[in-house]
Amino acid sequence: MTEEKVKPFKVEEPLRIARLDPTFKGEIMEEPNAELIKYCFQCGTCTGSCIATRFENNFNPRRIIKAALLGLKELVLSSDVLWICTLCYQCSERCPQGVKISEFMEVLRHLAVKYGYIHPSLRLQAEAILRSGRVYEDEDTANVMREDVSLPPALSVDMDEVSKILNRTGISNILLREEGDR
């Protein structure tokens, strides 16, 4: 993953008003902690405070908020940058309008998953859990490392239990859904 470049978050110009989804803002604001998003006045404090922006300049929380408020639903939910936020809460702490930006990023991630936009890296992890109950599947290597520090071998995974959790939480369904279902 480290080799891959992050897709730039770019609003297409000219902006086609017909392509905007005016209901998207409302949909976001229905989620807990995202109600205050409409108070954003685009001052840039969040981006100026952002630790992730320093390393990946395609990530710009202010722009994501602006795009979301404009109703660029597909652009926002399908973007790579959504998953870069470290949820450090620095922006939420400093926002002069009291917008809970970190929380808002989480809300966007939930919505992205809901609409089937899961970042490939997360999809790989989730699929691994679905398959083996573990994110890190190479049990033998893991056990060698555990032995080095005098730990007993890892417990085997009860896949029935894992499936139950995944089914109950709906994660299996989301993962099994075909891309075309979006």
């Binding site: 006045f41 685009q42 001052c43 840039g44 404090t45 969040c46 981006t47 100026g48 405070s49 952002c50 922006t53 320093r54 300049n57 710009n60 202010r62 722009r63 620095q90 702490e93 400093r94 926002c95 002069p96 309008q97 009291g98």
Partner: protein, 434 residues
């Protein structure tokens, strides 16, 4: 009604608004009591170097007015005094005023400064915001009115040196507070403001040497200030070559509970940028802002001029996220987004100026309780018709002028003071509504 002897007017606060109201009323022949809690009238305007947008010398406008107050036969100037109690109603207020002891006899002190020269004790100079010391016996600033020294008992060790050198025998260590009882027809409140405590915005590093407030810069750039008019870095005394201004510190900020715009910071930052350029031509100046509110007469032109080639001030639209010090040099690095380009920027500066906002005075609450006047949620006093810049408070016979009503600049404060004066004079002459 014709027979009724006219009453005087009490004015609380001796800043530019209180001074203007006093002069307007005195000129009408009314008796005025001007109460000021500090040793001299003048207020914050006395601390300023220049006024925007004309770059007039602040003291040159203010000082003649201060002297006029002193010379007016109709004005009784009560400095170093506080209003203790108010009773009665419009047209007939009874007011108790506490005169704090100066430990110097006002009647005889000539302001010759010998006492201060002999005084061995140094204390922080409030007028210069602690940027230089003053003595325990002091005159707040050279143009102070009245030209009377005051002993600060928090620092005085009663060594007796000042008493020994005073040629007129003005020093009196045993002076006691006195209560003065007066009757007035109306009251004008013009208690002004305090500046926002920049320490509350931790990410803006006010504790660092090379991060100062706008008012501190005002003292530094003033020719009679602690550095004789040189803007220096407090860490090493060098002249800064790259200066950044951070706007909206303590204003329009939900995090510190001040949602309002302080109205003066945009313009004073632009003014200070221009002044720095006039002093040191090769200084690079960047003003980080959310937007520039140049709303008054001549303001927009001044803003354009600051941006023009003549002054070349750089304006970055973006509120600063955070700043930090580089320990080796004392320089400050600022992290912000230039929202015009969407770029995250990290730039280095020699000096950072925080354009702090205006907040209500700490003792406004006590005054509010004393007089029963309505305050808004920010702590400013509200007039009867705030939409019309009203000078009438919620209590009959009490009027408000200046920043105590809400943040405003000098011309607006003076205009409102004039309005309050005329309204107060009507009540003072006619009495309250009968």
């Amino acid at each position: 009604m014709m027979e009724k002897t006219q009453n005087g007017v009490l004015i609380i606060g001796g800043g530019i608004a209180g001074i203007q109201a006093s002069l307007d009323l005195a000129e009408q022949g009314l008796k005025v009591y001007l109460v000021e809690k500090s040793p001299s009238i003048g207020g914050v305007m006395a601390q300023l170097d220049k006024t925007f947008p004309t770059l007039d010398c602040s003291a040159c406008i203010l000082t003649p007015k201060m002297v006029e107050v002193k010379l007016s036969e109709n004005i009784e100037l009560l400095t170093y005094s506080e209003v203790e109690e108010v009773s009665g109603k419009a047209g007939d207020f009874k007011v108790k005023i506490l005169k704090k002891p100066r430990y110097v006899n006002e009647e005889v002190c000539t302001g010759c400064d010998i006492c201060s020269q002999r005084c061995p004790i140094e204390a922080p100079n409030e007028f210069d915001l602690g940027l230089q010391p003053r003595k325990a016996i002091y005159l707040p600033f050279p143009q102070a009115v009245p030209n009377t020294y005051t002993i600060d008992k928090n620092y005085c060790i009663e060594c007796g040196l000042c008493k020994g050198v005073c040629r007129v025998g003005a020093i009196d260590y045993d002076q006691q507070p006195t209560i003065l009882e007066i009757e007035v027809g109306s009251i004008i409140i013009a208690t002004g403001f305090e500046i926002f405590d920049a320490n509350l915005k931790e990410e803006y590093g006010y504790h660092l040497d090379n991060v100062i407030t706008g008012l501190e810069l005002e003292r530094l750039i003033n020719a009679s200030g602690p550095t004789g008019g040189h803007v220096i870095r407090l860490s090493d005394g060098n002249l800064p070559k790259r200066v950044a201004f951070l706007q909206c510190v303590g204003s329009r900020d939900e995090k510190v509970g001040n949602l309002y715009c302080s109205r003066v910071c945009c313009m004073y930052a632009i003014k200070q940028a221009v002044l720095i350029k006039e002093h040191e031509e090769d200084t690079d100046i960047t003003i980080y802002n959310m937007d520039i509110r140049a709303f008054g007469k001549g303001f927009e032109e001044f803003y354009q001029r600051a941006m023009s080639e003549e002054f070349g001030t750089k304006f970055v639209r973006g509120r600063v996220g955070e700043l930090f010090e580089i320990p080796e040099t004392g320089n400050i690095r600022i992290r912000a987004e230039n929202t015009d380009t969407g770029e995250f920027t990290e730039e280095e500066f020699d000096l950072v100026v925080l354009s702090v906002g205006l907040i209500p005075c700490k003792d406004a609450k006590a005054l509010q309780e004393l007089l029963g006047i309505q305050q808004d949620e920010d702590g400013f006093f509200t007039g009867e018709n705030p939409e019309l810049l009203s000078t009438k408070s919620s209590v009959e016979g009490i009027f408000i002028a200046g920043v105590v009503e809400g943040p405003k600049d000098i011309p607006d404060s003076v205009a409102q003071a004039g309005g309050a004066a005329i309204k107060a004079s009507v009540v003072a002459v006619k009495g309250g509504e009968t």
